[in-house]
């Protein structure tokens, strides 16, 4: 029985969001709040020779100007700045730590004032002299410092030889430019100071990650710091790692022993992070019948000088299509930029884009329809690890997507389709991503009036986590949606990883189910203790929660209401916390798949390009909410 899971349920937080009731990090007001503004570096590499805050300090209403010279103590060791998702290799950026400038728009001073306007104005008066070094921010520059990483996946066969022996060969290189997340909500943190304890409202995708990080950076006891992020106005991966607004707001609060808010400007957000620019090189060898013999995929991506950020760009190429040989490599060009970060299917969005373009080249070389080519090289196994998929419905994606699009009317001859003065092109591509699950805990507090509060330290970055958690809890507890309250985005809540990687729904749902099972077990114990209990003798798997009752699965007339069960046990509230722990099961590959078909129109003479139609067919397992799922496509 699942009256809610899978149904197109409107967002439970929708009303609060459109009426302004949902509060974001910069909207929590407290008494005596000071306001901070960041001064960022005007050079990309060098050191601060002199920093003079005197003019800024003279502005009425300015409380302090913090720089690397006068800030309160922070952890010295770079390892103290590590977080749950940052790169393993390298040494994380330490805001306001010393005089070194590693990238343009690096924070180098923080002005704190009574009003945000005063802080921002005074920030413009901080005088900085630099010793500037030559910087490199161009991936294409010769002589860049290149780091070769371990192969993203094990090679198979001899791809070089197989390619050379192939009848049909396609070699191609693609460039993916740097892309910025710049979500609608500005990066902001409000650090509320209360007798040495600090509550931080931060814009983040992981309150517990930020909590651990800040405790480590400032040597604070976990109980003295709390991080909240009840609503997030978009993040797209930029909020996975702790960003400097949280560090600087806490730094200022500790320096002044006062509550401080810091809001970054839209321009300053370009100094946070980005999807790395990459050069993707592919070589695909095939025979005339349209089977692939060899795939070689190399990526060169940019990273900072101080950390090696890398994601899997290339191994998708040998995973997605049947090929007897495959080889991958990933290199990094170390530039004078902040470290890149995850952004919407990191790695895949760049690498699969290149692969799919190369597949189109192959389809042309083979004179085969692009969809037909993908059927011919379809793989029912993950060849990188030689294991089957938990599920793979990509064939159906191709079939249904092509049907909805009207793909059979496509004329494959280049320049053959026109509408008026426009050339019309129809193209398609495969999409693939991981279907991950991460250990996550959830707590349910059930009260005798039949209301349940469900809590988890995850985030809702706009994807609908509040809503699907409500649906899952309602079904698992047999209660109506309106009897469920979801709490998330608070570091004191049960442990959850950052919300990212597309793993949250598939992880937190199981945690809720596990906690609900504990609730059910306890309710059964209480119900059986009642005199003449209709459930006596029944085991936990013999009963189900539905319509506010615990009932015999075989005979729904035999039931005890939740309220009665709790009354028998003299319980006002039942509280259960449980976690979903996922075994690392390497016997299966877990992926989601999609087929995307697009119509593009080009006015050739004027170079105007319009994307006029897109059809996406997605196989992503069990869809919890068709409405929020659609909004993600």
């Amino acid at each position: 029985m699942a009256p809610y899971i899978g149904k197109p349920t409107s967002r439970v937080d929708g009303h609060a969001k459109v009426t302004g009731g949902a509060k974001y990090a910069a909207e929590f007001n407290v008494r005596d709040l000071a306001h901070a503004s960041v001064v960022t570096s005007a050079i990309a590499r060098g050191r601060i020779a002199r920093i003079d805050p005197s003019e800024a300090m003279r502005v009425e209403g300015v409380i302090d100007v913090l720089t690397h010279r006068n800030r309160p103590p922070m952890a010295a060791s770079a390892s103290a700045y590590r977080d749950d998702v940052g790169p393993e290799n390298g040494s994380p950026f330490r805001p306001l730590y010393n005089d070194k400038v590693a990238f343009s728009r690096q924070p180098i001073a923080l002005v704190v004032a009574e009003q945000p306007e005063i802080a921002r104005f005074a920030a413009s008066l901080v005088r900085v002299d630099y010793e500037e070094n030559k910087h490199v921010t161009d991936l294409f520059r010769r002589g860049n410092k290149i780091v070769v990483l371990d192969d993203p996946a094990a090679p198979r066969g001899n791809a070089g030889k197989a390619y050379a022996e192939s009848n049909v060969r396609v070699e191609a290189q693609y460039f993916v430019p740097m892309e910025h997340h710049n979500p609608m909500e500005l990066y902001a943190a409000t650090a509320v100071w209360e007798d040495g304890k600090i509550t931080v409202y931060d814009k983040t995708q992981g309150v517990q990650n930020v909590h651990r990080y800040l405790c480590s950076v400032f040597g604070m006891k976990p109980d003295d710091l709390r991080v909240l992020s009840p609503f997030v106005g978009g993040a797209f991966g930029l909020g996975l790692r702790p960003q400097y607004e949280a560090v600087l707001a806490v730094l200022a609060a500790r320096a002044l022993k006062r509550s401080v808010r810091l809001v970054l400007t839209r321009q300053q957000m370009y100094g946070l992070s980005y999807r790395p620019a990459t050069i993707e090189r592919l070589a695909i060898g095939a025979n005339a019948a349209g089977t692939i013999n060899a795939v070689t995929h190399e990526a060169i991506a940019i990273t900072s000088r101080y950390e090696d950020f890398a994601r899997n760009d290339t191994a998708w190429s040998g995973l997605l299509y049947k090929s007897s040989s495959a080889r991958y490599s990933h290199k990094l060009a170390k530039l004078d930029l902040p470290t890149p970060s995850d952004m919407r299917a990191p790695g895949a969005a760049s690498g699969v884009y290149a692969l799919e373009c190369a597949m189109d080249e192959l389809a042309v070389a083979l004179n085969v329809d692009p969809v037909e080519l993908r059927y011919r090289v379809y793989s029912d196994r993950d060849q990188n690890n030689d294991v089957p998929f938990t599920s793979k419905r990509l064939r159906e994606c191709y079939r249904q997507g092509a049907q909805a699009f009207g793909w059979d009317k496509r004329n494959p001859a280049p320049r053959s389709m026109r509408d008026g003065g426009e050339l019309v092109g129809w193209g398609m591509a495969t999409g693939v991503w991981e279907a991950l699950q991460m250990n996550t805990a959830a707590r349910i507090v059930l009260t005798a009036n039949g209301h349940a509060e469900v809590a988890c330290g995850t985030s809702d970055i706009g994807t609908g986590t509040y809503t699907i958690m409500t649906q899952v809890a309602a079904d698992m507890l047999g209660l109506p949606l309106e009897n469920i309250t979801v709490k998330l985005g608070d570091s004191v809540q049960p442990q959850s990883p950052v919300e990212g990687g597309s793993w949250t729904a598939a992880s937190v749902s199981h945690a809720i189910a596990a906690a609900a099972a504990e609730i059910k077990r306890e309710l059964l114990r209480l119900a059986k203790a009642a005199p003449e209990s209709p459930l006596r003798g029944l085991k936990v798997h013999d009963v189900a929660l539905a319509d506010g009752n615990l009932a015999d699965r075989r005979d729904a007339r035999r039931f005890v209401s939740i309220a009665d069960a709790m009354r028998y046990g003299a319980m006002e509230r039942l509280e259960k916390e449980s976690s979903a722990d996922f075994k690392d099961d390497s016997a299966y590959a877990r992926n989601t798949h999609s087929a995307v078909l697009a119509e593009v129109r080009v006015d050739e003479e004027l170079g105007v390009i319009r994307v006029t139609r897109i059809v996406s067919a997605v196989a992503a397992g069990r869809i919890l909410n068709t409405k929020t799922a659609r909004s993600q496509i």
Binding site: E117, F121, G421, E605, L606, R610
Partner: protein, 338 residues
Amino acid sequence: MINFQYSRASDVADAVRQISAERAAKFIAGGTNLIDLMKEDVERPSRLIDISRLPLKTIEETEDGGLSIGALMSNSDLAYHPLIAQRYPLLASAILAGASAQLRNMASAGGNLLQRTRCAYFYDLATPCNKREPGSGCSAINGVNRMHAILGTSHACIATHPSDMCVALAALEARVRVTGTAGDRVIEFADFHRLPGKTPQRDTNLRSDEIVTAIELPAQGFAANYTYLKIRDRLSYAFSLVSVAAALELESGTIKEARLALGGVAHRPRRDAAVEAALRGQPAGRIAFAHGADMLLRDARGFAHNGFKIELAHRCIVRALTQAAQSTPQSQSDKRIR
């Protein structure tokens, strides 16, 4: 804090009195450009003289059969005014090609004329800019100049004027009515904006004590054969790479009168009477249009990133004149280029 005074002008004479009394004062109407510039610290007026309540928001018929547009009419009210939509659809189209509905609701007609360039270096205080700080140098000439001018540039400045509306006004031979301490005067549209020369800090020939009170349109509106064609990096809410206001008067396939103005390519709308004279008497077709484009772009010169604009402008002129000749003006809502 950089404080400024705020005062309201009670009438046009009071506005002139106030602006002439304070050198660093500025008028504010919609504020869609000035407020941004103040936030970025590019403009630092000592006083904002609020003219938004002055009674300059109507359209009136003029004696010569044209229209006089109050300088404080919003861009939206202007574009959707029935007299403009019917008689001067080129102007309506150009306005609707620019900005967003929200900005057009706020922005005034006079303010549209006086908006400043969107050159990124003009906005970036960390870089030199002769327009912002005369004598400091031009960062765009050797910088990222994809959006910049290809005509009428100088060693001091290669910025473009960002307006769409002004391109149509140039083609329509509008006049700008102004009032100053010396009284009223009328400025021909071609004389209103300046080329950068050695004084790029001066965008227009408006005197420091003058206020724009009206924009006058002559009787001929070219409502039958016109188009406003704007090419930009994304199809809405972006400044133009190249835009063309084209208007024709045809007599059995022959060009009787032609108007042609380019936007996105110079410090002011680019128009050349000699080009229009050369079009007159020619059959309305590709040969004449291409010749006109050649003439108008004769002195065009590209920089590192905007050389493509020359060829793009050429093709846009031919396409726009074709649209005008065929009475198939570019729609500003359906983004397909006709």
